[in-house]
């Protein structure tokens, strides 16, 4: 795994811009709402530009780790501040940048306790960025929890339905996840005998005995699986989504669930390959149940956000299925689907956010007939629903195609069941669109005006990204391939 040090520490620059953004927001007095919002848009814009630069400056042919920054932090324990980017983490960093920027724009009309909201929001995203960049197990865990604890306040203070219950449930679930991850990380550190947390040195094969790998993989898979909404551990995510304010649930569903899947990929799979091969079938079973189960339960929901919550559970099942196939195509598809699902859910929540701010209701029966009143706003939601169904021309299609391809090759039965899940997903997405948007113009919402250009920009950006990635997926596949191919070849040897 060759490393290419960064000329200018871009990755720390991204982190810094988040933290500095938070500090400047905390310094602005509370009542200047407009100024706070402008500052946060500026800083999230800088973050987005930096991520875009890193994405396009990534050397596709060279592959391996790039933009490497290495500072030893606690030498006695072998902990080092070690940031780098490779094929797996790059799409996620870009996803976080986009969702972060659009998330800030979506909450443009917030007016209660604005300063605290954006400060905590920046802190959460800093945690997410940190996790995707760090190649040091200790820092992966630290950033995981940094992104977790502002979540409680964000949901509990600005949330919507049943916010205390949702916030408390979400935080305790995710911390229970970290309660499983920390012992596993320290176990790997102790058993490696290398006295270092840095990822690169822990990664070369044959370092751990098979038993350790199996045990550590199980702990890590369950720990990160809670965050990735793997089937039996997923019940926090719909409650959390519904309770959270829109900007937060964009980051939360769009990015935080990817941390779980990324954690499984980065820590569990790359460090304990034997454990991965041993537990692969178990993962596949859970994933397939997740796909079908999420779609079926989605059928029953009457709250827009619950529908999106359960559709995220079903889509994360596809990611998990990709990871469980132990093939290059599976990994490619899983990482691609992570990116695509992130953008799609962000578009979903952003459009629901706009609709909720106008109509003050998320219940589908009350919503009917919006398309006539707000054609553009409902247009965005319908586009997200189409992406959710895996329609070609939008990003999700490619992710699902490659994952199902790999799944059919390795587990034919599971692959077929998962693909049948697509029909049910189509049914419940269309049912939501039909009930919420079509039908005669609803008199209650007669006076509402359609989305203005400025308020529409986050959704336009997300829709454009969905379309661009959908029409030329090689943009992402070339990047992901630089990491998955060498990893799998290294594994097979």
């Amino acid at each position: 795994m060759q490393m290419e040090p960064a000329s200018f520490p871009f990755l720390s620059a991204i982190l810094l811009s988040c933290v500095v953004g938070m500090l400047t927001i905390m310094l602005i007095p509370e009542e200047k709402h407009r100024l706070i919002k402008q500052v946060s848009v500026v800083f999230s814009g800088i973050c987005l530009l930096l991520t875009l630069y890193v994405f396009f400056a990534f050397n596709r042919k060279l592959g391996g780790l790039q933009f490497v920054e290495h500072v030893s932090w606690i030498p006695s324990l072998g902990i080092s501040y070690f940031n780098a980017v490779d094929g797996f983490s790059l799409p996620n960093i870009l996803l976080t940048g986009i969702v972060f920027f659009t998330g800030v724009l979506t909450m443009w009309e917030l007016n209660t306790r604005v300063k605290e909201y954006f400060a905590l929001y920046f802190l959460m995203v800093a945690g997410v960025f940190g996790l995707f960049m760090s190649m040091d197990l200790f820092f992966i865990f630290v950033w995981y929890d940094v992104s977790l604890f502002p979540m409680y306040l964000l949901i509990a203070v600005w949330g919507t339905t049943r916010k205390e219950y949702g916030a408390m449930k979400l935080t305790l679930y995710l911390l229970a996840g970290s309660a499983l991850i920390l012992p596993a990380i320290i176990l790997l550190w102790a058993k490696s005998g290398l006295d270092t947390f840095s990822f690169v040195s822990l990664m070369h094969p044959g370092l751990f005995t098979p038993e350790v790998q199996k045990f550590a993989f199980l702990l890590l898979f369950l720990g990160f699986g809670i965050l990735a909404a793997v089937w039996p551990l997923h019940t926090w995510s719909p409650d959390g989504h519904v309770a959270a304010p829109h900007g937060v649930s964009m980051v939360h569903a769009g990015v935080l669930m990817k941390i779980g899947a990324f954690g499984i990929l980065r820590v569990a799979i790359m460090l304990c390959p034997l454990g991965w091969i041993y537990w692969a079938k178990f993962m596949a079973v859970l994933a397939v149940i997740g796909i079908v189960y999420g779609a079926f339960v989605g059928l029953m929901q009457t709250d827009l956000k619950y529908v999106i919550g359960y559709s995220s559970v079903s889509h994360m099942g596809v990611v998990c299925l990709g990871l469980s196939t132990v093939t290059v195509a599976g990994l490619n598809g899983a990482v691609f689907q992570m990116f695509a699902h992130g953008i799609m859910t962000a578009l979903f929540f952003s459009s629901v956010g706009y609709i909720y701010d106008r109509t003050h209701t998320k219940m589908i029966p009350e919503l009917g007939g919006l398309s006539r009143i707000m054609p553009v706003a409902s247009g965005f939601f319908i586009m997200a629903a189409l992406a959710g169904m895996g329609l070609p021309g939008l990003a999700n299609f490619w992710g699902e195609l490659v994952v199902f391809l790999a799944a059919l090759k390795v587990y034919p039965l599971f692959g077929v069941i998962a693909v049948l899940g697509l029909v049910v997903t189509a049914l419940f997405m269309l049912r939501v669109v039909q009930k919420a948007f079509y039908g005669p113009a609803n008199p209650r919402f007669a006076g509402l005006q359609d989305v203005s250009l400025w308020l529409g920009t986050p959704r336009i950006i997300l829709a454009a990204v969905l379309l661009i990635v959908g029409l030329c997926p090689s943009l992402l596949f070339n990047v992901i391939r630089t990491a998955s191919v060498p990893f799998m070849n290294g594994l097979l040897r």
Binding site: A156, M168, L180
Partner: protein, 481 residues
């Protein structure tokens, strides 16, 4: 026997004498609070000078009283911690309405005597010196607890604390007697040479167990934790803060010293320690869930934290000791910040209920932030010093193979986060029944809060310097073997 190495002890002895003399002076008629200010300022001055003295003598080395009292890096680091703890506690005794004004001098006198006793305890090397310094510190604390103006609460807490304390010290003494009789040596280093051979002998083990019970009382570990909830609730806020921080640090030090010398070789002892730590963790966390009074909640969380520290100690190797030392400092910082907010919110010294925290984020954002950071650090959320402490302890434990112990500890962390979040919810989420006036916080208090927040977060994020200090401090413990 040059006396310079006992610099800090001498200074604190002189300071307490000074306050003793002040308390003899007849109470003057002019406005009592002006007198308050004078005593408070002298106390602050003396405490800060005390820190400087300790820092100056950090490299002192040597023995006093023919090897009964050893001064080494380990003891000096703990002395500095204790002086820092005292300074912090005195700093929040600004307008102490909870203690009768005539008693203020006695209050500061007893505080300084107790710190002196704890310093003696930390560098005590023989059974006798340990016993004496422990008793001295306990007695001063018993009186401090009973000094509270609201008689009924302070009194009952004082009595309970006294009875359990003296019972524990009697048991400890009996244990020491057994140890002395079977090992024949009264000094820990001499005992360290003899004990490993006869560790399997019942008298020795039971003696050791009974001796440790005295220190478990001080640390509030499982069987001896009954006093903690009532004493914290009954004592005045400042005294409870002192017990939570300073006496805990000293207790950790003395347990480490005794176990470093006498604890090796017996699997039974480790089993007992594991059992005690697991039970006290779980018991502390579970009981804290349903608490309504903040100080009682903090008491149970202290019991839980003593369980975590015990994990660090029961590993019985330098990594474990340095982790425990680091955790002692972390405990000092976190507990102090939490108690500072409690003191700040209850100027009249009443017992603060969790509901009364409502609307804190509006009344004074800095205090709300301090409470938030302190509680998240107590829960062990990463960027804080609490997490680094727990992390070091868990790495030491897993290196020795106690993986399941760490998993149980992590489950306890999750339970503890639940009740910490309840408090944070009260502070950030609940709206007070009637609009309370914004809390006016004097500038030094704001500065103190800011510094403690910075300390918790910054040290949590880059703790390398402090870990080195802890490792240096753990060095002397392993020299003897």
């Amino acid at each position: 026997m040059n006396w310079t190495i006992a610099g800090p002890e001498i200074f604190y002895f002189a300071a307490s004498l000074w306050f003793l003399l002040l308390s003899f002076a007849p109470p003057r008629k002019p406005a009592a609070d002006r007198a308050h200010r004078r005593e408070y300022l002298t106390a602050i001055f003396l405490a800060s000078v005390g820190i400087l003295v300790c820092l100056a003598s950090i490299h002192a080395q040597g023995w006093l009283f023919i090897r009964a009292y050893s001064v080494d890096v380990f003891s000096q680091v703990f002395k500095t911690l204790l002086s820092l703890g005292l300074f912090l506690i005195v700093s929040i005794c600004g307008h102490m309405t909870d203690i009768d004004d005539r008693r203020h001098n006695e209050f500061y006198f007893l505080l300084f005597v107790c710190t002196l006793a704890l310093m003696l305890l930390v560098s005590a090397d023989s059974l006798l010196s340990i016993y004496l310094s422990l008793e001295l510190s306990s007695y001063s604390l018993y009186i401090l607890v009973a000094l509270r103006k609201k008689q009924s609460l302070g009194l009952e807490a004082g009595i309970k604390y006294f009875l359990i304390g003296s019972f524990a010290s009697a048991v400890m003494l009996f244990g020491m007697a057994l140890l002395y009789s079977s090992s024949g040596a009264a000094y820990l280093p001499a005992m360290a040479k003899v004990l490993p051979a006869m560790i399997a002998h019942p008298a020795v083990i039971i003696g050791l167990l009974f001796t440790l019970s005295g220190f478990f009382f001080k640390l509030a570990v499982f069987p001896f934790h009954f006093w903690a909830p009532d004493t914290y609730q009954g004592a005045s806020n400042q005294v409870a803060a002192y017990i939570a921080t300073a006496s805990k640090v000293a207790a950790i030090a003395v347990i480490m010293r005794v176990l470093a010398f006498a604890g090796h070789g017996s699997a039974y002892l480790v089993h007992v320690l594991v059992f005690l730590s697991v039970v006290s963790m779980t018991l502390g966390n579970l009981a804290a869930i349903v608490q309504k009074d903040i100080k009682r909640l903090l008491a149970f969380s202290t019991i839980a934290h003593s369980g975590y520290v015990l994990i660090g100690i029961l590993v019985l190797d330098p990594a474990g000791y340095s982790a425990a030392i680091f955790y002692a400092l972390a405990l000092l910082a976190m507990k102090f910040t939490a108690f500072m907010v409690v003191v700040e919110l209850a100027p009249d010294g009443r017992n603060l209920q969790i509901e009364e925290l409502a609307g804190l984020h509006k009344r004074s954002p800095i205090m709300a932030l301090a409470l938030l950071v302190a509680l998240f650090s107590l829960a062990g959320i990463p960027p804080t010093i609490g997490f680094t402490g727990k992390f070091l302890i868990f790495t030491a434990a897993i290196q020795k193979g106690y993986v399941w112990l760490v998993i149980i500890a992590m489950i306890n962390v999750v339970i503890s986060l639940y009740y910490y979040l309840l408090v944070i919810k009260a502070a950030y989420l609940l709206e007070p029944a009637e609009a309370l006036p914004p809390l006016v916080v004097s500038f030094p208090k704001k500065l103190l809060a800011g510094l403690s927040i910075a300390a918790i977060v910054v040290v949590g994020f880059c703790p390398y310097w402090l870990i080195q200090v802890a490792q240096a401090a753990a060095q002397p413990l392993s020299l003897w073997r």
